[in-house]
Each structure stands twice: as C-alpha cells, then as structure tokens.
C-alpha cells in the first residue's frame, strides 16, 4: 500500500531533460519525492531502474520505472487527468507538438555545441544553431498563429511542447551572459522569447526556477570543463 501512487523522480538539477519532467509534475499538481543523482557517481538504484541508458530522469510510480523524458511526460498526462492536458485531443495537433518537442532536442544539442567550442568550431556551431532556432521559430508561428497565450490562458493550456521549450531553452539569458552571443532573443526569435517569458510567470514554474547566477555559474563551469577536456 505504501507503494501505491507514490511518485519518485530521480534527477540532476543541471539537466534540462529532468527539468521537463519536474515541470510536468508541478504543472499538473502531482506530489512527488525528488532524489538528486550525482552523475559522476551513479547510485545502484539508478542503474537498477534504468539499466539500458543509465541516465536521468527516471520516474518511479507504483514501484515501476519509466525513462526518457518525453515518454515520461506522456505517461504523466495519460495517468493523471487533473490539471492541463499536456497533449491536446486532436491527433494532428498532438503530432505537431510531438514533432517540435522532438526537434528541440536537436536545437538543444546544437546549443550545447556552442558552449563546448571556441574559435572557428564555435562559429560553425553558432551558425548551425541559429538556423535551427529559425526553423523552430517558424514552427511556433504555425502553432500559435495568434501569438503566444497570456499567462492566465497558459495556466490552463500549457502543453508538453511548452515545458520542453522552457526546460531546454529557458536558460538563454544565462547562456548569453556566458558566451557574449545572442542566439535566442526578442529580435531574432520573438515567439520563443514570449513563450518562455509567459511560462516563467506560471506559479508552478516560478517556485522551481533556478536563480540566474546559479545557472550562469554552472554554464561557465560546464564550458571550462568541456574546453579543458578538448584541449587535453
């Protein structure tokens, strides 16, 4: 009986894929226990729960483990019918949201490349991510032909795609500070920025928002490490 309905999330605070799941749980008002994992020293429990990929996030519900952030979020949406529906009913809209949520993975990986490189390699990475971000912006235009909803509307209608945008791209200002380069900004990517700005104001999101300085410090550390191992 103790296992019934108990929700545990195994994660690492720096990982956007974990953040996506946290946001989904918070937005739906699902109580959960959080276990922070040190990825340099993975716990036996994590390895037992996710033997295939050995990664976070892992959601455990009723004693059963679910992995892969987008799979987890769909599971959450199908299991807890309270709160906003993270995927709409219409199959076409669902396919659009799944497509763009999956595309953001590529955008994010391209952003990480910018963090990990310098000089010519970085210029190349910046070019690549800028093209991807442009496509994403165009995609959002198709999904939100009347512009981004207000915070109030969002609180009832936030979707899986919004959570992914926030988790993976929400740190754009910190990234700008660390890199001195604007990739996502209100001029080049107004919809992405409006989306993030509106979402940040949601109560469920506000309470778990990482302070800007902490994100900046982490990104600096991440970049230094990456450049050092590349140089080694």
């Amino acid at each position: 009986m103790a296992e019934q309905n108990k929700v545990i999330l195994y994660g690492t605070w720096t990982r956007p894929y974990v953040k996506r799941v946290e946001l989904a749980l918070k937005v739906k008002g699902i109580p959960y226990e959080y276990v922070e994992e040190d990825l340099r020293n993975k716990s036996p429990m994590l390895l037992k729960l996710n033997p295939i990929h050995k990664k976070v996030p892992v959601l455990v519900h009723n004693g059963k483990a679910i992995t892969e952030s987008l799979v987890i979020i769909e599971y959450i949406d199908e299991t807890w019918k309270t709160g906003p529906r993270l995927l709409p009913q219409d199959p076409y809209k669902r396919s659009q949201i799944r497509f763009w949520a999956s595309y953001i993975q590529q955008v994010f990986e391209a952003l990480v490349m910018v963090l990990k490189t310098i000089g010519e390699a970085q210029e190349k990475a910046i070019k690549e991510v800028s093209e991807k971000v442009k496509l994403l912006e165009a995609g959002l235009k198709g999904l939100f032909p009347d512009g981004i909803p207000s915070v109030d509307e969002y609180s009832k209608n936030v979707t899986l795609l919004d959570l992914v945008i926030l988790a993976n791209l929400g740190g754009y200002e910190a990234q700008e500070e660390v890199l001195g380069v604007k990739i996502i900004d209100s001029e080049k990517t107004p919809l992405i920025v409006s989306c993030i700005t509106a979402l940040i104001d949601l109560p469920a999101v506000k309470e778990s928002r990482m302070p800007h300085e902490k994100v900046v410090a982490f990104l600096k550390f991440f970049r230094e490490n990456a450049l050092n191992s590349a140089a080694a």
Partner: protein, 172 residues
C-alpha cells in the same frame, strides 16, 4: 512538406503533413482508433512500448550501418554491437508479439529492420538467427501477416542495393 528535416517518410492526410515515422504511426493509431489499436491502453504499457521504440530508433539504424560501411576489426565490433541490441529486444517477453497477442506499435517499429538482416548477414558473414533465434521466430510470425509481408522491402533487393552503395562509397 518537410522543411525542417527534408526527409521521408511524410504522411499527408487531409492535406496536412505529419513527419517522423514514430510520430506518424501514433497519429495513424489515434485517427483510426477503432481499427486494431497499435498501442496498449494501459499508460505504463504504452510508456514501455514508446521507450523501446525510441531505443530501436536511437540504436539500431546506426549500428546496422556500421556493419556494411566498415571492415576488419571495426566490422567485428559492429556485428557484436548489433547482436547485443537485438538480444536486449529478444528479452522483452514471451508473448507472440511484443506487447501481447496482437501485432502492435513496437512490432511495427522493429519489423522493418528485419528486411535488412539478410543484407547485413551477407555483407558481414554472420547469422543473426544463430544468435537470436527467438527474435527471428517473432519476425517470421509477423511475416505471416499479409499486411506485413506485402509491405516490407525484398531482402535480396536490399542486399543488392547495399552492395551497390558500398561500391559507390568506396568501402571494400
């Protein structure tokens, strides 16, 4: 129709495009939900099906590609990796199909790779059936369905295609 990835497959329904194969399969399942549901109804089972389909997507294509684009030690490693992935999938259950008594989402995600086995076996000089007999029984079971056997590519033609590609890419 697919300005983002510029790839196939693209499904066009009612004039609107849907891209990315697993997204398309789910779309088909949701639109024609009264005919032979592909995903189970239980959320945890669905999560399992999606997880394993994602695993197949992430691992199998690239591992297979390495078999015909490499040689010597690299190819041996590629063959080993490919078999390991198939063995993981083989362990997924003892039912006739991956999620039960009926062909479903995960079977669809994997069965299309079956057409390539003959080509890989020929080009890699190994037998997948010898290593993964359970998987091959499952594949043959799927092939008994006309909807599958008539849809899949001819393994011999795929093998010829890869031989041609090898020449073109200069991999000998």
């Amino acid at each position: 129709m697919n300005p983002v990835h510029k790839k196939i497959p693209v499904l066009i329904h009612n004039g609107k495009p849907v891209c990315e194969s697993l997204i398309i399969v789910q779309y088909i399942d949701e639109v024609w939900k009264d005919k032979a549901p592909l995903l189970p109804s239980d959320p945890y089972q669905r999560a399992q099906a999606r997880f394993w389909a994602d695993f197949i997507d992430k691992k199998l294509y690239d591992a297979g590609r390495k078999i015909w684009t490499t040689k010597g030690e690299e190819q041996e490693a590629a063959k080993k990796e490919y078999i390991e992935i198939l063995k993981v999938l083989e362990e997924l259950g003892d039912k006739p199909y991956f999620m039960g008594e009926r062909l479903g989402f995960l079977d669809i995600a994997l069965i299309t790779f079956y057409s390539w086995f003959h080509a890989y076996e020929t080009l890699g000089s190994f037998s997948i059936e010898a290593e993964c007999p359970k998987l091959i029984s499952w594949a043959k079971r799927c092939m008994q369905k006309e909807s599958v056997s008539k849809s899949l590519a001819d393994p011999k033609k795929l093998c010829e295609f890869l031989v041609e590609m090898k020449k073109r890419l200069g991999v000998e």
